[in-house]
């Protein structure tokens, strides 16, 4: 058994991902790997993602760099994993629903009519590495085919140096246009397939704000907490009570998430959106959660998210922040079954003990998958979040 060889495959880093490139291997052939190790950097439309491995053994046969590989493509072999097998494109929780049947539109580079331009296999590969469209080049090969030399010429003559460099240049870059396409595909699928229902409730944030002000008053800025941390923790607490909204919808219906891993929606500068996981939010102390949140946002914007952070979310929380709108009606990120939204915290008249008083209010919303739950359950979740926010000291 110890000689078993397992396949390490291109992971699916979300329902909106179809392919990606390995831009860096962080291990060498023959390196020893164990579950949780970050072994490669993969470039997706979400930027450069650190890919973890969940196999144990010696890694070999590393896939070449800078080739666009579909989800499920072989990235490496791992020898010596007990039991062998395969590291599936997605981790167990999401696996049943992963073969995302995203009815993707035909790629824009392949028009439905007309013959494909002739490009030699070697030229095609080189052009792909360099990120240029070989079809558009002037071909000098047999039957006018674009050859490797034609591509090299275009690369050396063109004003832009081969943008195959991002691997070395840095790991920030995601392509906004590509990400827009991916969001379009995922959200389109969500709205086509998921019968959403929506609930909203306004929550008095007075207790939470008061507690927060007291907590922050005595602390230097780096240690202070943001309201978002309270909202996240309250949501996680509520999900412990209403686990039916924390998980995935697949062929066989609902399957609960393995933990409360909240995907935190982060808008990226230059456009685009990513919702990587904060793990086990219900079990994290507030200061630790604040640190995790800062780190996550930082990495989402500069590159360096880990693959598990993209595959693990069991629910999404979106908060529009201080400059956002009063409320948000979210679109569920498949195969999750719910998204919780927080509008901005605003001061408004509110009736407290029979009198109108100014109070900080936040509009809390839920979009949930009606196949997996009903409005009654969703209402319970919102009520539980409200309740948790009224007792911030215990969060």
């Amino acid at each position: 058994m110890s000689d078993a060889v397992a396949d390490f495959l291109m992971p699916s880093l979300g329902a909106d991902m179809e392919s990606a490139k390995v831009v860096e291997w962080l291990v060498k052939p023959g390196s020893r790997v164990k579950p949780g190790d970050v072994v490669a950097v993969v470039e997706t439309h979400k930027g450069a993602i650190d890919v973890e491995i969940f196999l144990d053994g010696v890694i070999e046969d590393l896939a070449p760099l800078n080739q666009q590989l579909p989800v499920g493509a072989l990235l490496a072999h791992v020898r010596g994993t007990g039991g062998g097998g395969t590291q599936a494109p997605a981790k167990a929780a999401a696996a049943p629903v992963q073969p995302a049947p995203v009815p993707s539109p035909p790629p824009p580079t392949a028009p439905l009519s007309g013959a494909r331009g002739r490009v030699s296999p070697a030229a095609r590969r080189r052009a792909e590495e360099a990120g240029i469209a070989a079809d558009s080049l002037h071909g000098t090969g047999p039957d006018g085919a674009v050859t490797l030399a034609d591509v090299e010429l275009a690369l050396s003559a063109g004003p832009k140096p081969a943008p195959a460099e991002p691997a070395r240049a840095g790991r920030s870059g995601f392509d906004p246009a590509q990400m827009r396409q991916a969001i379009a595909a995922a959200m389109g699928r969500s709205k086509r397939e998921i019968p959403h229902y929506y609930l909203g409730t306004t929550v008095d944030f007075h207790a939470a704000q008061t507690w927060l002000d007291g907590y922050n008053a005595s602390r230097p800025p780096p240690e202070r907490l943001l309201p978002a941390v309270l909202l996240l923790k309250a949501t996680a607490r509520a999900l412990v009570q209403v686990p039916q909204l924390n998980g995935f919808h697949g062929k066989d219906g609902f399957s609960p998430g393995p933990g409360i891993h909240i995907g935190w929606a982060i808008s990226l500068r230059g456009g685009g959106l990513v919702a990587p996981a904060l793990h086990d939010v219900d079990r994290q102390e507030l200061p630790a959660l604040m640190t995790s949140l800062r780190d996550l946002v930082q990495r989402a914007r500069t590159g360096g998210l880990r693959s598990s952070e993209l595959t693990d979310p069991t629910i999404t929380v979106t908060s529009l922040g201080e400059r956002g709108a009063d409320s948000v009606l979210g679109v569920i990120y498949p195969p999750q079954v719910a998204i919780v939204g927080f509008g901005r915290i605003v001061e408004r008249p509110w009736v407290v003990a029979g009198n109108v008083a100014p109070r900080p209010l936040v509009t809390l919303s839920l979009a949930a998958d009606h196949r997996a739950s009903d409005g009654h359950l969703g209402g319970r979740l919102l009520a539980a979040i409200d309740e948790a926010l009224q007792d911030p000291a215990n969060l």
């Binding site: 030699s120 296999p121 050859t147 490797l148």
Partner: protein, 330 residues
């Protein structure tokens, strides 16, 4: 001090190789049609009867099946027979013995019986011997598991491949091209043995690999010379061993040059060059910068008339044109 190169013909190299083998191993002997008194149809065994006597240089009846069968029996019994089949066209009469016995007995006996038999055959066209004496059938034999198939294309290989073939415990077929017998080449006295496993680059080049063997080797080298004058650096890879193919060498060359022209005097359909082309498509597809091209014999029985024969066989100009078309089409 290095000795000066020795110049000799391919025929003489073959003769010396046989003589060496007879001197080196008392178990070895030659048998075939006209190998004794006549000195061999292509004069390869001339003088050997006088030197070694009729027990070791056996003139046989015109019966390829019998000759080959006797050779297999002798090999099974511990001798080291060198069987000569006058031309590979006639070897078809011995095909049953070659395929069903020589190639098969070691397998069917679970390795208990070895067949250390060497069969030399003349092959190829170009000397106006017409359709029953001019065909190139080595590709057919390269189809058969259990055989090793050699195609010496140089004087050095003609001189040294036989010893390696006799040392091999399995049946080895050596295809000597009839046009090459008169070709002269230099022998480096420092080289006393060659392997029968590897292809060899006879001329290094950057832009296209001309992969060939036998008498197509000198044609390919001439083509490479002409291509160089046009500014196309062509590599010439001599297969030497047609079974098993030295795929690592073939792939290494093609992955480097990214283009391949296969030159094979066999007919194109179902040929050795077809096999190599298929393997290139399979194993080097993403390294190719152009389609794989083949220069083969026209699919006709090799004609007798000189100009028709010339037109039917691969020629230097055909190879040049094929390579040029891949590298610098116009």
């Amino acid at each position: 001090m290095t000795a000066a190169p020795l110049r000799m013909t391919y025929r003489e190299a073959c003769r010396q190789a046989i003589r060496d083998a007879l001197l080196a191993d008392p178990r070895s002997f030659v048998m075939g049609e006209d190998v004794g008194k006549y000195g061999g149809c292509y004069a390869v065994t001339k003088g050997l009867l006088e030197e070694f006597g009729p027990e070791r240089i056996l003139d046989t009846p015109l019966a390829e099946l019998g000759i080959t069968g006797a050779g297999i029996g002798a090999a099974l019994a511990g001798l080291r027979p060198i069987v000569e089949i006058m031309t590979c066209n006639f070897s078809l009469l011995a095909l049953d013995q070659i395929l069903n016995n020589a190639a098969t007995i070691p397998h069917m006996s679970g390795g208990q019986f070895a067949v250390p038999l060497v069969i030399r055959m003349a092959t190829g066209g170009g000397r106006q011997l017409a359709a029953q004496h001019s065909h190139s059938l080595e590709g057919w034999y390269a189809h058969i598991p259990g055989l090793k198939v050699l195609a010496p294309g140089t004087v050095e290989d003609a001189r040294h491949m036989l010893a390696a073939a006799l040392a091999d415990p399995n049946p080895v077929l050596i295809f000597e091209h009839i046009v090459l017998y008169n070709a002269e080449g230099d022998l480096d006295p420092a080289v006393t043995a060659v392997d029968i496993e590897h292809a060899r680059i006879r001329r290094p080049g950057r832009d296209v690999s001309i992969i060939t063997y036998g008498n197509s080797l000198p044609k390919s080298l001439a083509a490479a010379e002409a291509l160089a004058a046009e500014g196309i650096p062509a590599e010439v890879l001599d297969l030497r061993v047609l079974r098993p193919l030295d795929m690592p060498a073939i792939l290494e060359s093609v992955r480097r040059t990214r283009r391949a022209v296969l030159v094979d005097e066999g007919w194109r359909s179902g040929s050795l060059s077809a096999e190599i082309a298929a393997r290139l498509a399979d194993e080097a597809f993403f390294d190719l910068d152009a389609p794989v091209r083949r220069v083969c014999s026209a699919e006709v029985p090799v004609p007798y008339a000189a100009h028709l024969e010339e037109a039917a066989l691969p020629q230097v100009a055909d190879i040049v044109a094929a390579a040029r078309e891949l590298v610098k089409p116009r």
